[in-house]
């Protein structure tokens, strides 16, 4: 499939790399961005060009989502790589990093290779695998992270499971540092959180839900940051979610630790009260926190303490969700709602659009060494055209994901993706 030449005129260009948010126009050619101007159009256009009049809609780099779960290989009824790619394209997400907690676990280069070949065959958005940090995600023996790195994995992680043994964590960080490979880790004290389904609070107490204090996150994060400081490794804090952990992160960063932190769009949008009458679509991991934590998280995104925002896309079929709250699987799908949900913070005037877009484009692209995430001549033509103000009522049944467990179901958002380009090819176009 060859990429057509497309000219976007009358756009609102939002480019975190050049720190530009203003009128402009852009031409893609042969899969790359060929021209960018701050004029609203071009004096003369090449022949056979497709002209897209943006009418002031936002043209931004396609989103890069560092935390996406699919069910492939091994649990395809949940989500296939293809259905995840379709959801991503519809959401303006042009690169996804898929998590290694599949069946089999991606703890060996052959699984990395399988995922990359499948993604190439599907040919929609870029799919980058993350490798397991330890064999079988068991936190005991290091996986073949060097071989997986060579095969194309962009970071290693044990996903939702913390690596409890500090000696294993230390060696993993030190070894990965030698490979210049980033380690992502979900900070959580597994003993404090054993059996918990919610954050400890007055609300969880009244609901009779087994709960754990939010500081379970801070406790493990303290250790992780100390070990990252000791080894010099690049640590990606996976889904920081509460105020005490943010304080810990700020202290470590001031001390020069080489750390990046993500948070999920869910924790920026919802608080524990959204659980309401035991609604399992709002059962998440980390569990939803207090409103104070949510506000602290928004502040941390605004101040730059949190670098990257992820969808934490986690498909779960009805048989895993239609259960009593404490027995239900955690997680929400999020690829299609990431951008409009993020725009809420722009519409509310909480965070400038340019900063918000940077958290889902340039910052994650740089974290894993991608050339995308910018509107620069010569960069891949991975783009999203989005009508920022268009109202949307999210209906989970209409989402492209195979699983419909969206915490945004029924929510009114603003922001409609009109066009998604990957390597200059149109992979999604709103009808």
């Amino acid at each position: 499939m060859t990429a057509p030449t497309i000219a976007f005129i009358n756009a609102r260009l939002v480019d975190p790399a050049s720190h530009y948010d203003g009128p402009g126009a852009l031409i893609t050619s042969q899969g790359l961005i060929a021209e960018v101007t701050h004029e609203v159009g071009f004096a003369d256009l090449p022949p056979d060009v497709r002209l897209v009049d943006c009418n002031g809609a936002m043209l931004a780099p396609g989103l890069v989502d560092l935390r996406v779960k699919t069910g492939e290989p091994g649990n395809e009824p949940k989500e296939t790589l293809k259905s995840a790619c379709l959801a991503a394209a519809a959401g303006g997400v042009t690169s996804i990093v898929v998590q290694p907690d599949t069946l089999p676990v991606a703890d060996d280069p052959s699984v990395i290779d399988f995922v990359m070949r499948r993604a190439r065959d599907i040919g929609l958005v870029h799919v980058y695998p993350a490798g397991a940090a330890t064999k079988g995600l068991e936190g005991k023996a290091m996986a073949e992270i060097g071989l997986m790195h060579d095969a194309g994995c962009v970071y290693v992680t044990d996903v939702d499971r913390p690596i409890v043994d500090s000696k294993v964590m230390r060696r993993l960080l030190a070894y990965a540092h030698g490979l210049d490979l980033m380690v992502a880790h979900r900070p959580v004290d597994p003993w404090l959180t054993e059996g918990a389904a919610a954050t400890e609070s007055e609300f969880a107490g009244r609901m009779g839900l087994p709960a754990a204090p939010a500081i379970a996150e801070q406790i493990m994060l303290e250790r992780d940051l100390a070990l990252a400081g000791l080894t010099g490794a690049r640590l990606l804090v996976d889904q920081i979610s509460c105020a005490p952990a943010l304080e810990t992160l700020a202290r470590a960063r001031a001390g020069g630790v080489n750390v990046l932190a993500t948070c999920s769009i869910n924790h920026l949008t919802f608080n524990e009260l959204d659980i309401g009458d035991y609604r399992t679509f709002w059962k998440l991991d980390p569990p939803l926190r207090s409103e104070d934590d949510r506000q602290a998280l928004i502040e941390a995104v605004a101040s730059g303490l949190v670098d990257i925002i992820v969808s934490a896309h986690c498909p779960a079929p009805p048989e895993d969700k239609r259960l009593p709250f404490e027995e239900a699987a955690p997680g929400s799908v999020g690829l299609e709602t990431l951008l409009p949900a993020l725009l809420t913070l722009h519409h509310e005037g909480r965070i400038p659009l340019l900063d918000l877009i940077g958290k889902v484009t340039l910052a994650p692209a740089e974290a894993i060494g991608l050339p995308s995430g910018r509107l620069a001549v010569g960069a891949p033509a991975d783009l999203v055209l989005c009508d920022l103000d268009a109202p949307r009522l999210i209906n989970a049944e209409e989402l492209a994901s195979k699983s419909k467990n969206s915490a945004f179901d029924g929510r009114r958002l603003q922001g409609q993706v009109r066009l998604t380009l990957v390597d200059g090819r149109v992979v999604y176009e709103a009808s």
Binding site: M207, G208, L209, A211, L323, P324, F325, E327
Partner: protein, 324 residues
């Protein structure tokens, strides 16, 4: 279906229950509670007669669906249903045979297809009764969901107290022991405070829910202080497996610090009465000497009131079904 047959009569006409399901005391308003208690009072007299049977639920089917074992609550609902003329079926699916949650929804949907009128459910997970009520077309009564609620227990406790003291308003009630894991405590806090009682929660910090001091109650971490001057001391059952979870060190230490004996009880009001939802661990949370002293203990009354309170709930729900 509302015409009354000859035979024994309840002293009050059942009022139509304002909701389709009976899930939580939070769904009740004070007038509903008073109406249910008045209705239950009539059933207490009925239950003491030789002829105990009414036909308010004649033709109705009641299914007891108990995922957790229960002798007291299940037989109480069974008798309540039968005395009101319903056909009662008891089901006790064991959670171990199939993955837990599947049995809940699958079993409920299967039973629902058999056209029962009322489903009485007990399940080990908080929110289970609420989830089930969204999946079935019949009325659902929560007979205990995890640590969340046991609303019929709160109603029978309120009935017991109202009959023992003449009123609930103004009573000081100390609920003592393992509050964290207790659905009885949560339902009683909601209902008794609604009726104007002053509720105290008394227990070690490890067995107290976080934020309980914001439930409109007083929290104590010392039994002697917590029951000082109390009119009612309600002891909660300590699950013996709590010793494993590092909640408390041993049974003998628990009994020494948190068990109710005469010495500690002497600090309560002179008119104090003692309650326990059962089943009791004698010598762990309560001394047999107290449990068996009928001048102190309301524990047998609670069991008797349980049948009447559940008859009141069933009668009110049936009155609503008749109106639909």
């Amino acid at each position: 279906m509302t015409e009354s047959a000859p035979g024994p009569q309840a002293s009050k006409e059942p009022f139509p229950f304002p909701r389709r399901h009976f899930l939580s005391v939070a769904d009740l308003d004070p007038p509903d509670v008073v109406a249910l208690l008045d209705l239950a009072d009539g059933f207490v007299s009925l239950n003491r007669q030789k002829a105990k049977k009414l036909d308010l639920l004649k033709g109705r089917t009641l299914i007891n669906l108990f995922f957790e074992a229960s002798t007291r609550t299940q037989s109480s609902f069974e008798l309540a249903g039968k005395r009101l003329g319903a056909d009662v079926v008891n089901m006790s699916p064991r959670a171990s045979s199939v993955a837990k949650g599947e049995t809940l929804i699958d079993t409920a949907v299967t039973l629902n297809a058999m056209q029962p009128d009322i489903l009485v459910v007990r399940h080990g997970a908080s929110g289970a009764a609420s989830l089930l009520s969204q999946k079935v077309s019949c009325s659902v009564i929560n007979a205990g969901d995890g640590r969340h609620e046991h609303p019929s227990q709160a109603l029978l406790d309120a009935l017991t107290l109202r009959r023992a003291f003449g009123r609930v308003d103004g009573l000081t009630v100390a609920i003592c022991g393992d509050v964290l894991h207790s659905r009885v405590a949560r339902s009683n806090v909601g209902l008794l405070t609604m009726l104007g009682a002053r509720v105290r929660l008394v227990g070690p910090p490890t067995l107290m829910p976080s934020g309980a001091e914001r439930w409109g109650v007083e929290v104590f971490h010392n039994l002697k202080e917590g029951i000082a001057g109390a009119d009612v001391v309600m002891m909660l059952r300590l699950q013996l497996e709590r010793m494993q979870g590092a909640f408390v060190p041993s049974m003998r230490e628990y009994f020494r610090l948190w068990g109710l004996d005469r010495e500690k009880l002497a600090r309560a009001s002179p008119r104090v009465r003692v309650m326990h939802p059962g089943p009791m661990n004698r010598g762990v949370e309560i001394d047999s000497d107290i449990a068996d002293d009928l001048s102190l203990s309301l524990i047998q009354d609670q069991v008797e009131m349980g049948v009447a309170a559940r008859m009141a709930i069933l009668a009110a729900m049936a009155a609503r079904l008749d109106n639909d």
